[in-house]
Symmetry: C2
Subunit: 285 residues, 2 copies
Amino acid sequence: MTPRIIKTIHEMQTESNRIQTSGKTIGFVPTMGFLHEGHLGLIRIARKQADVVVLSIYVNPTQFGPNEDLAKYPRDFEWDAKLAAQEGVDIIFYPTDEEMYPQGFVTTVRVDQLTEGLCGASRPGHFDGVTTICAKIFNVVKPNFAIFGQKDAQQALVIRQMVRDLNLDLEIVIAPIVREADGLAMSSRNVYLSPDERQDALALRQSLQLAESIIQQSERNTSVVLQKMREFIESKSTTKIDYVEIVDAESLQPIAELSGKVLIALAVFVGKTRLIDNVLIEPPS
Amino acid sequence: MTPRIIKTIHEMQTESNRIQTSGKTIGFVPTMGFLHEGHLGLIRIARKQADVVVLSIYVNPTQFGPNEDLAKYPRDFEWDAKLAAQEGVDIIFYPTDEEMYPQGFVTTVRVDQLTEGLCGASRPGHFDGVTTICAKIFNVVKPNFAIFGQKDAQQALVIRQMVRDLNLDLEIVIAPIVREADGLAMSSRNVYLSPDERQDALALRQSLQLAESIIQQSERNTSVVLQKMREFIESKSTTKIDYVEIVDAESLQPIAELSGKVLIALAVFVGKTRLIDNVLIEPPS
């Protein structure tokens, strides 16, 4: 079945109200398009759990910094629509910038604390853009639940916090990272990589595995683990570390001693392409 | 009929979902309680236009500055509930601070530009508190429309802007100022006034009337009008001007020359009590 394509807020809200009033549930997958297996995994979860699946495709300009890749961010709506149809998406919400940020737009939704470190530190204003667009789009789509990928671990926690704090009446579901056969986390930005960079990009996942094995061998000092990860990543010729951190899995605050549930997260430039990856672990005590 | 009193977000959302699914409309009057005729006017509008009327009573701490009157803000829930019953309110949403701002709350909704002048300039952070609590409470009550009083003119415009920007699916209705017989705008804070202050407080409304009559006599220079207003207010012994301004009625930007729809707004301390008032006028061109 071909998904219905909705481009205006008014039409989407009217349709969502109709669905909710009829007693059906809406599962929502917000994306920036250029769909890959990671997105399809999110859609499949929504398809299983909801009566109606809404996918949004919107490259949100306010979450890109001035020196980031907004202009060249990959887009292919026809292809995305075809994949969405194959996965049984019912509605694609596909608004324009004018629709989302009309003349005179002046409102920001900000989540503090959780946004201070990791990607929040390297990308000032990024999470304000993310939380503001998510608040908007949740009010437009009115889903019962929305699904985010664990690859963007900080984003998922920040949005969950916003939903809780603003009493948005929906559930945030966080789905596991989907990887290429060789371990590279799926990302729309992988398309930027040259063959050499594509090879070096494996260092992200491999450094996380290295960390896991060091911790398995009873290392509990985060500085030691981080140092080994850094050395490994820096041994590749096209990589440049943005950050490598070990933080508490809930508060995202850096920790000195490994205990409880922790998130090991990193952002690395491979050539000019900034990639992220992470793993959640709970070292045996 | 005695209104149902709901104290938790979960119970309120469940009830609102039930009402909306049944096809009924919700009219909402958010207040900080200590109800007066101004509030009752808002409730009557809601009662006329909606199937179900929800009144919230919550003294929101985050919209008070550190040196403001949060601790002594007047409260009388039993009396409020009695008035609400008389006016046919169906539900009173009456949450605690712990319910609205649980441990770990870190989110802010901010509206720029419209919040820069007038009360926004004198009360830093005030409107962040207002917009954040309104975003929350709208998500909890899920009204079709919410009614605010024109007395808080800037607040009404700021909230309307937030609703537009965040695509909240409700209408903001702005109701006229309700006054005492002698012209003083109704306010829960009027209870703070001593008899002398109560008399001097008439200067707010009278200075607005003075401005109207000067403009009627073809004065178009805002500085001239403002100067006469200031002199009038300062002639009273217990008054101290916080601000007196003439601004564009939509953008709230100060204007030099009177033309189009303008808002004349003022905040004046009468003794220790800060009161506000305003008038919307459109000088004949």
